[in-house]
């Protein structure tokens, strides 16, 4: 067994094989303090989006999503509606609890609410995680890597086209979510694509209908 001990780091290295290497040492000194990309909300907002669900390259459904987010308290309220106005799903979450007030099929599975809120946090809220590393990917893109308490890693990437992408990896390095913001700066939420790697891969194409800043008391 002791003979195997030296191999442990190698094992862990390969088990994290899908996690892209960040070349920290390649960062020129003058750029080592570059600001991490920040696509996240800075103040409370209400967002209304059309959400197109795709599986195997085909559109499965188009729905309307309403999301109310406070980045300070990290509280989220959200609802999913059909084009006809019927509410399929409604929930609210704080760091302490998740409360589902309405969930009709196919949005009534136990994991749906948690996964949906997790995706909303990933897109709109700054990661509650330690900044583990920053540097450049082999493709030359700037990246800041955050390490969550559960071992997941979140890469926030600025592409060469100055667009922002977010990737969430499991602790074993499996890519679970890939979020691409099609626009930059103030129009960043205009068009967002989320690709999910699950048992059945799917993608969501979110087009902004309305964005309203919300005044908190």
């Amino acid at each position: 067994m002791k003979r195997l001990l030296p191999l442990l780091p190698v094992f862990f290295l390969f088990s994290c094989g899908a996690l892209p290497v960040i070349q920290s040492s390649a960062v020129p000194l003058r750029e080592q303090s570059f600001t991490c990309p920040f696509p996240f909300l800075k103040k409370p907002y209400r967002l209304v989006q059309t959400i197109e669900t795709r599986m195997a390259g085909k559109t499965r459904n188009v729905i309307i999503g309403v999301t109310l987010i406070d980045p300070v308290s990290r509280s989220i309220s959200c609802a999913v509606l059909t084009a006809e106005g019927m509410v399929l799903f409604e929930a609210a979450s704080t760091p302490e609890e998740l409360r589902v007030t309405r969930a009709l099929p196919p949005f009534d599975s136990e994991s749906f609410a948690e996964n949906m809120l997790e995706d909303i946090r990933l897109i709109f809220l700054e990661p509650q995680a330690k900044l583990q590393e920053r540097g450049y990917l082999s493709s030359g893109e700037r990246v800041c890597r955050y390490l969550k308490a559960n071992g997941d890693r979140i890469d926030v990437i600025q592409t060469k086209a100055l667009k922002v992408e977010i990737k969430r990896y499991t602790s074993s390095g499996t890519l679970k979510r890939h979020i691409m913001f099609d626009k930059a700066e103030e129009d960043i939420y205009q068009l967002i694509e989320l690709r999910a790697s699950e048992t059945m891969d799917y993608s969501l194409l979110m087009t902004l209908m309305e964005a309203q800043p919300v005044n908190t008391p």
Binding site: N61, V62, V66, S77, E84, G85, M86, T101, L104
Partner: protein, 211 residues
């Protein structure tokens, strides 16, 4: 999934029937039979509508616009122009839903044939204006400033999705002004109808083609 589709198909069909209440029809507590008889005079119907969705999470209502077509006995088209383009069409024993994606209308395949069959069975009952004969809803009529028809779901499963439907008719003239569908305490949909045209010719292509 089937439950969801059954609900909104029912809703679309119900709204169609609501529009069949003819001009000049005035209801009281015993008028359901008369309503059914008068509805038989309607052969075709077309109307525009504005839909406002009210929810606690929304600071202002979400506004949708569209139009509705009906030809007896069972051809329906319920179409939204904005903010999301979508169409539900019932024609010759087939109900289909289409949505706008990547520059064209694509058929929603997530409902399943079983749900469509259930819908068609329901349509047959709604089409003759039999508000008080569908076992899924209890119908009552009240006369206030306007005449109010209230439909309350009977089944517990349905109550979880919808609390009640209120249909407001203008006094005397009996023209349908609006429909409110209550899904919860802070959550309701208001549909206001305009440009209602009765017994005008409607091209059958309306129920076959999706542009």
């Amino acid at each position: 999934m089937i439950k969801r589709y059954r609900f909104w198909h029912l809703l679309v069909c119900l709204l169609g029937v609501i529009l069949l209440i003819p001009d000049g029809f005035c209801v009281d507590d015993s008028d359901f039979e008369k309503l059914s008889r008068e509805s038989a005079q309607i052969k075709t119907l077309k109307a525009d509508f504005i839909q406002k969705k009210f929810m606690k999470i929304l600071a202002k209502p979400l506004v949708s616009e569209g139009c509705f077509y009906f030809v007896t006995p069972d051809s329906l088209r319920w179409e939204y122009f904005k903010p999301l383009k979508s169409v539900v069409i019932a024609y010759r024993n087939t109900t289909r839903r289409y949505m706008y994606s990547e520059g064209k209308m694509v058929e929603d395949k997530t409902g399943g044939a079983q749900a469509m069959k259930i819908v068609l069975n329901e349509v047959a009952g709604w089409m003759s204006g039999k508000f008080d004969r569908n076992p899924s809803f209890k119908a009552t009529i009240q006369k206030k400033e306007n005449t109010l028809v209230t439909l309350t779901p009977v089944e517990e499963k349905m109550k979880g999705m919808i609390e009640r439907i209120e249909i407001t008719l203008a006094p005397k003239a009996g023209i349908v002004k609006s429909v409110k569908i209550f899904e919860g305490a802070d959550n309701f949909t208001q549909i206001t109808f305009n440009n209602v045209k009765i017994n005008e010719t409607i091209d059958a292509a309306v129920f076959r083609e999706v542009k």
